[in-house]
């Protein structure tokens, strides 16, 4: 493991530990605003950090290499998400104690991440010049259908309380998250050993955690309990981005030493 990778792991652990300590100390108290501010900065830092590291990985790859494009897409998606996180953070600071409305402009950034991740995974797969095995295709399809129907079922009851734009955005989250899950499974089925599989395995675990966070948050927000997930839900995005940042540094190390 490279020095960069170790640095990423250490930074993310420290940032997570601080978040947990702040949450424990301020939960259900008047000071929970400190946790909220910290969490906004934490989210922004981790997504921007992951975006920068993904971009840095593209620099060691040959021009025209599809894997370079894949890391570029990941970086671009993370930048969009960072813009969403920045807007949400600013709202939190400008309106202390208030929940960010739904849907809001930040959701555009959050939603745009997934198409770029899907594009990245597709490009990576294409760059490998190997097909998805049949079992991978079948499992991905089943996962998509299960994830989509489960998410739809969970959110369906609250649809009547939502505005039409909120329903559209919720359905967009449900569809995109389900596609993301299916793509994770499909690409995972093509990763059969080899050094270069490791960073992508780490990245896929990261995207899976991101998916869990997204799906859970969509549900909790729609039942008007956005904080119901507690610290565990809050940490899903920073942990996911931490894993993607780690994947980027691992990949960079492999390409450099190949």
């Amino acid at each position: 493991m490279s020095k960069d990778s170790r640095l990423v792991i250490a930074s993310w652990i420290i940032l997570c530990v601080i978040a947990v300590i702040l949450w424990v100390l301020t939960v259900n108290s008047q000071q929970d605003v400190f946790y909220t501010y910290y969490f906004s900065v934490f989210q922004l830092l981790t997504s921007v950090g992951a975006a920068v590291l993904c971009y840095r990985t593209t620099l060691v790859l040959e021009a025209g290499d599809k894997t370079r494009t894949a890391w570029g897409f990941l970086s671009m998606g993370l930048w969009f998400w960072s813009v969403g996180a920045l807007l949400e953070g600013l709202y939190t600071i400008l309106h202390p104690g208030m929940d960010v409305p739904f849907p809001w402009y930040a959701d555009i950034g959050f939603l745009l991440l997934i198409p770029f991740v899907v594009l990245a995974l597709l490009t990576f797969k294409k760059g490998q010049n190997v097909g998805i095995p049949r079992w991978g295709l079948v499992t991905a399809t089943v996962m998509f259908l299960c994830a989509f129907s489960l998410a739809l079922q969970l959110n369906f009851e609250v649809f009547e309380d939502l505005s039409s734009i909120a329903i559209i955005i919720t359905v967009a989250y449900i569809i995109l998250d389900s596609i993301l899950l299916a793509m994770i499974v499909a690409v995972a089925s093509t990763l059969a050993g080899g050094l270069i599989s490791r960073p992508w395995q780490v990245a896929l675990v990261g995207w899976f955690i991101f998916y869990l966070g997204d799906v859970s948050y969509t549900f909790f927000r729609n039942i008007d309990r956005p904080d119901a997930g507690g610290i565990l839900l809050d940490l899903t995005w920073p942990i996911a981005f931490g894993l993607i940042a780690l994947a980027a540094t691992l990949a960079r190390g492999i390409y450099k030493s190949a």
Binding site: Q128, G194, A258
Partner: protein, 306 residues
């Protein structure tokens, strides 16, 4: 060389003028390199070939020669408007071009005094002829079926060499024994022209390219996984067979084409890396594998990759 109908007008010493129309299907002109035409001729003699060997000398498609065989005996040699002996002399030491074989039976008598023609040819050939085809020194020599030879200094030198070749030897490793440099090469070319020894690059260049492919596949296995390495190996063989259809998988290519099949193999090893796996890793893996070879081997591989 174009496939299909073509006709050859030839002057025959036995008949006045004879028009041979050769109808050939499916035969394909394949390149040959680093093998003298005289060696190709020897190998066709050894395998008792009946038919026409059509050669394009060098890269000039107008520079065509044809050699007729009947049961491993040379019937006629044609090149420009030269008669047999001069035609053979003109093309004997060419080592680059393309070759097309069409099997056919001719009701004609073999060329008389073939051995004498060969002896005359060798007499006029300088030792330095080997310098025009330095790759030949990497070839592996094996004995073909022995047949009666006419008594001559070249045949005696050849017989002495046969003993040294034993079950097979690289050309550079054949002991000269009591033979002088001139006798050695006279004997060697004599054996070659009569199809008594076979030159093959399978045990030298073939082994090297196989090592090259294996190292690269191993590198792919480490970097990109078994799945990629396996797909690469499959695609590599498909690419080779597409360009060299009669090369059977797992077998050595026909030695008659010299290093051409190995050149194709080396080039396909490189080209296939562009079709499978991550481009950057393939490129770096390829360079890393090449750098592990000795400068001598590297120069051979690089020569094939041009």
């Amino acid at each position: 060389m174009e496939q299909g109908w073509y006709s050859i007008c030839a002057t025959d010493s036995l008949n006045d003028k004879l028009l041979w129309q050769v109808h050939h299907h499916g035969n394909q002109a394949m390149p040959f390199k680093d093998i003298f035409v005289i060696q190709i001729l020897g190998m066709l003699i050894a395998r008792k070939f009946s038919g026409i060997a059509s050669l394009v000398i060098g890269n000039n498609s107008d520079n065509v020669a044809s050699i007729w065989f009947e049961s491993g005996m040379v019937v006629k040699v044609r090149y420009s408007n030269f008669p047999d002996i001069q035609a053979l002399k003109a093309i004997a030491w060419e080592n680059n071009g393309s070759l097309e074989l069409s099997s056919q039976v001719f009701p004609l008598n073999p060329l008389e005094h073939y051995s004498l023609i060969v002896e005359k040819l060798l007499k006029d050939t300088p030792i330095s002829i080997i310098d025009t085809c330095p790759m030949l020194m990497n070839s592996f020599i094996t004995r073909a079926k022995l047949k009666p030879l006419k008594n001559s200094p070249s045949s005696l030198a050849g017989l002495s060499l046969l003993a040294q070749i034993g079950s097979g030897s690289q050309l550079t490793n054949i002991q000269k024994g009591n033979l002088s440099e001139t006798e050695f090469w006279d004997g060697f070319w004599y054996l070659t022209c009569h199809g008594l020894v076979i030159n093959s690059y399978a045990k030298s260049i073939g082994v090297l390219i196989q090592q090259f492919q294996d190292s690269l596949t191993e590198k792919m296995n480490t970097l990109m996984g078994y799945h990629i390495a396996q797909v690469y190996t499959e695609k590599l063989w498909q690419n080779i067979q597409h360009r060299w259809p009669d090369w059977e998988k797992g077998k050595e290519p026909d030695p008659i084409y010299g290093t051409s099949p190995y050149k194709l193999w080396a080039q396909m090893v490189r080209e296939t890396t562009k079709q499978v796996g991550t481009q950057t890793l393939q490129k770096r893996g390829f360079e890393s594998v090449l750098s592990a070879f000795s400068s001598e081997d590297l120069s051979v591989i690089n020569n094939f990759l041009i």
